[in-house]
Symmetry: C2
Subunit: 465 residues, 2 copies
């Protein structure tokens, strides 16, 4: 990250770092489009009412006010004020309802945009960052095969980022219905509370979670232990998952003909399907992990978190789930499922841990030297010829000493310096041809700007690890 | 623009419109990089102090406040609050100073990002829009050849947009030193006031401007007329420009040995150079237009506005200039020159006036049909094969009747529908091969997903006019 960035939580990349971020974005877009996702961009603002749906005021939102309104902000109720979006899912839901007549459903979309969280400044938390999302939204209903396909698209996208130093990613899936059914079967009622505490398991450990469950969620010691047993249940496949789950229900007296079990079973079947299908298509890419809870309140079924091998301290780098009730219009619901990559954090990891770096700062492959300012038009003509043939070209900023011009190219990582035939030479009847030098290898050859081709590898601006 | 967008001034494109915007952005980026500009992205926020430099509070700025701070916004002085950037030039200047040690100068950068203006809602004014900027910033000094090269890069970028229905663009250039020197030579002192009124010439006409100059800027009738004469001066080349300017100075008693004339002459020489150089490289692309003033106060030399043939009502679509005093660090100045395309308005013109449209909504070239849900894995395998070979592919959302699946492809504009060999067919010993149908031409052929290639033209998602 750029040193000395003056506002905490608003990361900004140096040009060479931005090359990496830009390539990551390009790569994700390519994968998303290859899979038939449609790109959209939503406005950065939503109404307070939309951002605060369900009345949660604990959300971390930036509200806007016009400079002219300073001191009178409170004249407008928060619901009517504008705020910056904190994710891309809430805007998508609003967009889909607003433009439903113009969309084909199921609507598969990708979206890579900045989001903002109005947090208190604190170490390591971004208040502005880029998210890269894919979602599918149905009109009325949404087939559950998307609940396995979307995580797999993300896995294939993350695999493309191995070239940028990203380790193997594994999606951990759970299902809220499974958890909720089980908790209800135990006799618990504060489902959101239990999910919230279980979410802390990796951070604070089982004993502490058990204590919180009993203290804050009205659980008995036994109920708390049962919740932890569920969270720690692991299985190699859907069949084992179902068997172990049924055994757990039996052990805790949850009858198979109860409503609670029926709800849990619905979630279990979806989760089993996801794990089994993923194992066939891409073994080891998606596993069941029954402690995954997700902070956001709009998920209603599958939930996902994604971890990188050897980088668990990074936390989940790609999360999401199924949300059946986020968008609706009259009686019609628009259920969706999607995942979101926290791109800025991922790029930060690539740059600072994986060592990803651009082979050069400038997109230019060639710098045309300028012998003196009177020759600049000739240098510009050479540059125009090269550009017309798709070769990115810069021209020396001043007719400085050649060493200084080469140093400028070197600082920008431009591999070739072009020497136009000097007017003086041609008047003297000496060699009047242009030459081009690879300043890395030192090789210098005669060259014609209408036909010369750079080495295809050297010419490319790329990311290396 | 998407119908029914619920917040005035925050445009949002439908997916098919977004295809056009995305292609425009891709095209501009390509041209900018071909010319050696380095891409950066700055954070969306700056401090109030940075946004309000020079103490102007008439600026249209959105300030931020955290949800938790509502009611206490005024506890923080505006200078310390965060606000959304209203252009990309102020952030660039701040970025350059902040990271000067890590940059090579002159620093050529491109930047395509959203900006926000906290205006009162009104018809046709965007409060959120995309700008596409190029700038060059020097450390200490900046050669003036960039003052002709940058508008020419913009002209070549806009030429690439002819394919999207954009008419020919002409850059109108002026120079603030020229205007200021002339006004001072006349004895006027409220230079910014005069520039502000002259800027209205096209809108309100010469008589009204003359009235405003006398009423608000302390000009006599004769001074006002002289200002208008300067604004209306036209010339075919730099030589004629200089001759006509000198004649005007003589007519109004501005002595050639005066300080005011020296200042004007400096601006005139730069403007003459720009016009003459541009005429050689790209005739008719950049002309002198002495009524161009520019609203922003940070320009100190060349100023540019760009108009489209036959679309003058659109106003300037690409504006900018040279700014010598925007960024500094101690004694060191970072003079810059740059231009900014108002991209959202341009895309709006392309969509609604020029008729630019995507040939299809979905990036997918192929939709794989699904005979029944049990066959979905086979359809997914075919899709994976095609994608691995770079062919963007979608899979039918449900195993609906074939007509419905084709209708889905049609609605998204996907040209090919792939029919996997039916399991039933192969059990019956009948034809077991896949087939693919071009649903536009109706042509249907046997195809193998490991080797089939779509028609290269049909396969591409493009923008047509």
């Amino acid at each position: 990250m750029a040193k000395g960035a003056s506002i905490s939580g608003f990361p900004e990349w140096l040009p060479s770092e931005r090359v990496v971020e830009q390539r990551v974005i390009d790569t994700l877009r390519k994968v998303f489009e290859l899979n038939g996702f449609i790109g959209i961009e939503t406005r950065a603002v939503e109404t307070g009412a939309s951002l605060l749906k369900k009345g949660e005021t604990s959300k971390e939102i930036y509200l806007l006010s016009r400079l002219q309104e300073v001191g009178h902000e409170s004249d407008t109720p928060i619901e009517e004020r504008l705020g910056l979006h904190f994710d891309l899912t809430v805007p998508l839901s609003r967009y889909v309802v607003e433009h439903s007549g113009a969309l084909a459903f199921p609507f598969k979309r990708w979206q890579i945009q900045k989001v903002w969280r109005g947090e208190r400044p604190q170490e390591g938390r971004f208040r502005e960052f880029v998210q890269a999302d894919i979602d599918v939204i149905g009109a009325g209903d949404l087939p559950d095969h998307y609940e396995v396909e979307l995580p797999l698209v993300m896995v294939s996208a993350l695999e493309e980022l191995h070239a940028f130093g990203l380790p193997k990613a594994t999606v951990h899936a759970n299902n809220r219905k499974l958890s909720e059914g089980f908790y209800r079967g135990l006799g618990l009622t504060d489902i959101e509370g239990v999910l919230r505490e279980i979410d802390k398991l990796d951070k604070i450990g089982a004993d502490e979670v058990a204590r919180l469950l009993t203290e804050s969620c009205g659980a008995t010691e036994a109920q708390a232990r049962a919740c932890l047993e569920l969270a720690e249940l692991t299985a190699a496949d859907g069949k084992e998952l179902a068997e172990k789950f049924d055994a757990l229900c039996a052990a805790h007296g949850i009858a198979q003909d109860s409503e609670a079990y029926a709800l849990a079973r619905q979630g279990l079947d979806t989760l089993a399907m996801i794990v089994d299908e993923a194992a066939v298509i891409r073994p080891g890419s998606v596993i069941a992990d029954l402690k995954i809870a997700r902070g956001l309140d709009y998920y209603t079924g599958s939930v996902y978190e994604t971890f990188l091998d050897g980088a668990t301290s990074l936390g989940s780098i790609c999360s999401g789930g199924r949300y059946d009730n986020l968008a609706s219009q009259g009686n019609r619901k628009y259920p969706g499922v999607g995942l979101s990559i926290g791109l800025s954090r991922l790029v930060s990891y690539m740059l600072h841990t994986a060592g990803a770096h651009a082979n050069r700062v400038s997109p230019a492959a060639v710098l045309v030297a300028v012998w003196n300012e009177e020759d600049r038009p000739a240098a510009n003509r050479i540059a125009a010829q090269l550009r017309a043939r798709g070769i990115a070209t810069d021209v020396a900023p001043t007719a400085a000493k050649l060493g200084k011009q080469i140093k400028y190219a070197d600082k920008l990582g431009i591999p070739y310096v072009w020497f136009p035939a000097s007017a003086a030479d041609s008047e003297n009847g000496e060699s009047a041809g242009d030459e081009v030098k690879n300043i890395v290898t030192g090789e210098q050859v005669a060259a014609d700007c209408t036909s010369w081709e750079p080495d295809t590898v050297v010419a490319q601006q790329t990311v290396e690890i």
